[in-house]
Amino acid sequence: MPDQPSPRPHVDISVDGIRWSVPAGSSIAAAFVASGHPGWRQTRRRAEPRGLGCGMGVCFDCLVTVNGTRGVRACLTDVREGDVITTERGSGFAGLAI
């Protein structure tokens, strides 16, 4: 009988103020999908849900704010213990409109 794989280590992150425990080494996008949230960003005009689009850094659909840095591509960024992640609404530059 084969050995059971040892449980994967988890890290704790905060998503919009809620604590999530997610597998270490996942991308932030994978953490969202695995946690049952396929659409975490809203489009600027029609507030449609967006999440993992291309999965390889090209489409910029999966943007999140990580530890205060806006516009991070969730598909290319791994979760780290203690990350504070907030989902984004709009462009993040609304205050600069003329």
Partner: protein, 386 residues
């Protein structure tokens, strides 16, 4: 036009110029087929910015063509609908110092005499027009007639309108030769067969010289590479197409070396496009982070607010230029039935409707509203010795 052909005209190329030719020919009642080796607007057109400019043109044949084209674009805005993203936003050319400003004012005065709408803007007035513009600029000129369009959408919409009028669109089919009979055009041979027609329009963009060669004719259309940087989407922070006065000198330059001027504009989707580099390196598609970095840095100097904005991608393409920087529009006397509509360099999007309109006027035997002589395909021939 022989009744034996299923089509009156074959247009080669489904970029913005080919699309405009197709549109105006179809509207003139001709049976048109467009043949494109790739997809719609994936070559020269898709690598552009969507410039519709009178501001960068000195008085002369190209300016006349641009003025005609601006009038046609205004109508096209209604005909094609909002998806073309045609914006009559105006262009703002800025001068860094007093000497540059004086040259710009002289240039604008000559343009005004040729019928271009110009408005001189002093140092203080710049900020009213563009609140995020850098300090310390000497002044500028506002060109209210300048416009911007989403060129790929505009090409697709013109082709759709032409198709509704009966035009046939054949994508992923390459023209391999121009067929002739009795010394004139009889059709085209293609990768999947062929098509007979008494008239063929070469609208192959940067590859128009290569296409002419397939008809055994020399046509000096050459590639000039340009990079464009794209930012993340922003709310509207930049109102006009804003560029530095040295852009005009660089466009007209005969130098083979790298020239970089600063052109910054927002799009309907929110991204800001940053140009413009020009260099003659053949069809080399290699990325240059040095050029991309320089473009970004210059844009930040013009609009310091962009320092906090990400560039999300860049693209590059080839502007089809001729040695005299004028397009090639008209019948090729060397092969009756062959017409050219190419060589517009960085102005092809802006000049496309005028080009399509002129081609339709020629084909239907009507008088063109501007002189065609400066655009004659035969102008590059060595004069024959007596």
């Amino acid at each position: 036009m022989s009744a034996s052909h299923r089509h009156d005209v074959v247009v080669i190329g489904a970029g913005i110029v080919g699309a405009a030719c197709c549109y105006y020919l179809a509207r003139a009642g001709l049976k048109v087929a467009v043949i494109e080796r790739g997809a719609v607007a994936v070559g020269t057109t898709g690598a552009g910015e969507g410039n519709i400019l009178v501001s960068d043109k000195e008085p002369g044949p190209e300016l006349e063509l641009a003025q005609l084209s601006v009038r046609l674009w205004r109508r096209l805005g209604d005909e094609l609908g909002p998806d073309a993203e045609l914006e009559p936003k105006g262009g703002l050319v800025v001068a860094a110092g007093p000497e540059e400003r004086r040259q710009l004012d002289d240039f604008a005065a000559a343009q005004a005499a040729a019928g271009v709408e110009v408005r001189t803007v002093g140092h203080a007035g710049l900020r009213d027009l563009e609140p995020y513009l850098a300090d310390g600029l000497a002044g500028g000129v506002l060109y209210p007639e300048d416009m911007q369009v989403q060129p790929m959408m505009a090409a697709a919409l013109m082709l759709r309108a032409a198709r509704d009028l009966g035009a046939e669109l054949r994508l992923h089919e390459e023209v391999t030769a121009i067929e002739t009979a009795a010394g004139r055009v009889a059709g085209v041979r293609t990768s999947t067969g062929g098509l007979s027609a008494g008239l063929v329009v070469n609208a192959a963009g940067t590859w128009a010289g290569e296409l002419a060669a397939r008809a055994g004719l020399a046509l000096p259309v050459l590639p000039r590479r340009g990079f464009i940087v794209v930012t993340e989407p922003l709310p509207r922070m930049i109102r006009h197409k804003v560029y530095t006065a040295d852009y005009v000198a660089n466009v007209a330059s005969g130098s083979a070396g790298l020239e970089i001027s600063t052109v910054v504009e927002a799009t309907v989707s929110g991204t800001v496009l940053i140009g413009a580099s020009r260099e003659r390196v053949g069809f080399d598609r290699t990325s240059s982070m040095k050029i991309v970095g320089t473009l970004a840095a210059q844009a930040v100097r013009l609009f310091p607010v962009l320092a906090g904005v990400r560039a999300i991608r860049f693209y590059r393409g080839f502007r089809p230029y001729c040695p005299d920087h004028l397009p090639v529009i008209g019948s090729d006397a060397r092969l009756p039935g062959l017409l050219h509509a190419c060589g517009h360099e960085g102005a092809g999007v802006g000049l496309a409707p005028a080009t399509g309109h002129l081609i339709a006027q020629i084909v239907t035997g009507q008088t063109a509203p501007v002189s065609l002589a400066p655009f004659d395909p035969g102008r590059f021939e060595e004069p024959a010795r007596a």
